[in-house]
Symmetry: C2
Subunit: 391 residues, 2 copies
């Protein structure tokens, strides 16, 4: 298996973007070409979840490869719910590892603010079980609310812990130009003050407004290549060292213990095993905090903390930038934003910045090993990536 | 690069199916597991074009892997317009070739008769250029009509030649249990008789009703694996020897000569080069005849006949079963049917049957090399596969 490196990266602001989807996808592609110094690619992957439903567009990758004047390179769209981004990186990895292609562009892009909030919530709900969940009106916030309640009862997590995740990630996003939300929040403001009940209303009890990620448009890109091509360009040697992917029952209620995220556990295990590192070796991580409770749960399942102790580590500040294992220095889905198909590529973008030492004010010093967890469905399809900086 | 073989195959009837999409996808998966004798897979690809738009479902692969009780295997949905099927086979190939996975299931599935004919036509039109074609009301039949007219003027193809493709493919489908249309047609009936104008009305001049493929539901599956696993199961050694993929301008009107299908030419060239065979070595082929004119044009672009001479070879009967190079023994998209995301996998299914010698009445004797052309967009994204039967 050939080794695979990140040659170039690009990103748009995650926010409301008034550009056509094809341009939201193309822009970070151009940035990544410029970053890498490369001018040609062999294959394009576009990760996207909603173009068919939200944007009346199929074959998106064909439009993007043409828009970037990169024909006749092959192109394909990868749809894997909110895990589309990291899934596309996995496909790009294998395209190079197999020897089929030498330079692969992986773009994640979504334009989901084209529709109103209610339609966007329904669109995201289409990833739930079509026969056992969706038709009964389940939404992702409702699943997350029930999950949070179980987690609180079983492990002693409180609303205060959830709010701490939000406060930390909003704070991190203040230093991320590309983040959706630039708004410093406090426990006082969203939890303790008399205004909290209006500032931060309940959405899906026990989850409140500030426990939810925003609905974002946005795109991100990674260009992947071989060790040989890397020698010709002057970029840091960031290697994709580990990839894990696992699925779980599609319907959440079919799981023995819904607080166990088995697909996260298995995908992380595979990724670390392939990279030959341990969770404790990781210097910086981006986890999939579409809801605040998920950051806590994932930080345990991937192995950073013991099961049921993620909220304690959070309380101690171990997941802050400069802490034992900084989680979501970018602001995470919570504050950086969550353009669903782009998110996994956006997570990888942040880790590459951190390992290159280009993360500016939010830089984790001397980061050498980075990790991402891209969580699809409600934990039914998860992809974890491990990145290592080589000398 | 590890070599990749077809361990098992499965298919549903291509027709109107009153089952949920997840079951249309799962059924051929079960058939293929049974055919191969394998019980476990490492990774699932589901090729599908319309689930988001037509079926209000995203993350389809996650639902299918669970429905088949194949968790925790990784799963991902591949969307590449009508070329989704062969694109998914390419991804499955690389997953094995790279060494990442040993057993990969590739399913193509579509349920597009859920909506009415007009909505289905609009849904397929979403693959055209979003800014330069779709918003002006272009549909696939309209593009094909204009393409056919140019082809007629430049190369002397007539309506009679187009009808000959339909007659041949309807005839072939008579012996295919899984085909959508079991209806023998004649030149007399659809062209010469006084009833032809009502039997076979114009849809997009010069294309008539019988120049169009039907709108079908359906699914197909291939299980791919390594030479090592093949030794443990008693199945013919059908190897995926060549894969080519190429893109062209997304908008048809931007091409110098729209009758040149450059992506078909390039994808076929790559596929033959990788397989180390020539177009003339091919014993049996499935081409993407969504419109009759496309079978003629593709038969030239892939190299079976000189440019402009496909209709002459057709006239001579060279593309019939038993002819020089039988094209679409399955009935093709024209009569077997065209559940868009499933089509490329369905084409490969037929070639595997032919190379195994399991195609019954429509068997091409001693077929050793097979070929498929899966045509996405209006020629903007094409995947060609070459299969070789080993001893």
């Amino acid at each position: 298996m050939r080794e695979v490196y990140v040659a170039g990266i690009g990103i748009t602001s995650f926010t409301r973007l008034e550009y056509p989807l094809v341009e939201i996808a193309a822009y970070p592609g151009l940035m990544a070409l410029r970053d890498s110094g490369l001018k040609k690619i062999d294959q394009l992957y576009v990760a996207n979840m909603g173009s068919g439903r939200v944007n009346a567009q199929t074959g998106l990758a064909s439009a993007v490869v043409d828009h970037l004047s990169l024909t006749p390179a092959g192109a394909v769209t990868i749809e894997n719910g909110p895990a589309s981004g990291a899934s596309a990186i996995k496909e790009g990895f294998m395209a190079i590892a197999s020897g089929m292609h030498d330079v692969v562009m992986v773009i994640g892009a979504e334009r989901m603010r084209e529709v109103n909030q209610l339609e966007a919530t329904d669109f995201v709900a289409t990833l739930t079980h079509p026969l056992a969940e969706y038709i009964y009106g389940v939404t992702l916030p409702s699943l997350a609310g029930m999950f949070a309640r179980l987690y609180m009862e079983k492990y002693g997590v409180t609303s205060r812990h959830l709010a701490m995740v939000a406060v930390k990630n909003h704070h991190n996003a203040m230093d991320n130009f590309y983040a959706h939300l630039h708004e410093e929040i406090t426990l006082e403001g969203i939890l303790d003050s008399p205004e909290a009940s209006t500032n931060n209303p309940y959405v899906a009890d026990p989850l409140r407004f500030y426990d939810m990620c925003p609905v974002s448009d946005g795109g991100a890109c990674l260009i992947l290549t071989t060790a040989e091509v890397m020698k010709k360009i002057n970029k840091p040697m960031i290697r994709i060292a580990g990839i894990g992917q696992a699925t779980d029952t599609h319907a959440v209620h079919e799981r023995k213990d819904p607080t166990d995220l088995l697909a996260v556990r298995e995908a992380a295990r595979q990724s670390f095993e392939m990279a030959k590192v341990k969770p404790q070796d990781v210097d910086v991580a981006e986890l999939h905090d579409a809801f605040t409770i998920l950051e806590i749960a994932e930080s345990e399942e991937v192995g950073f903390f013991k099961k049921g102790e993620g909220h304690i580590a959070l309380e101690k500040g171990e997941t802050k930038i400069g802490g034992k294992i900084p989680i979501n220095p970018s602001g995470g889905l919570k504050a950086k934003g969550h353009p669903v198909g782009a998110t996994g590529v956006g997570q990888a973008h942040e880790i590459v910045l951190q390992l290159r030492g280009e993360a500016k004010k939010r830089q984790m010093q001397n980061a050498k090993i980075g990790f991402t967890c891209n969580f699809g469905g409600f934990g039914n399809n998860v992809v974890c990536l491990t990145f290592i900086k080589e000398k």
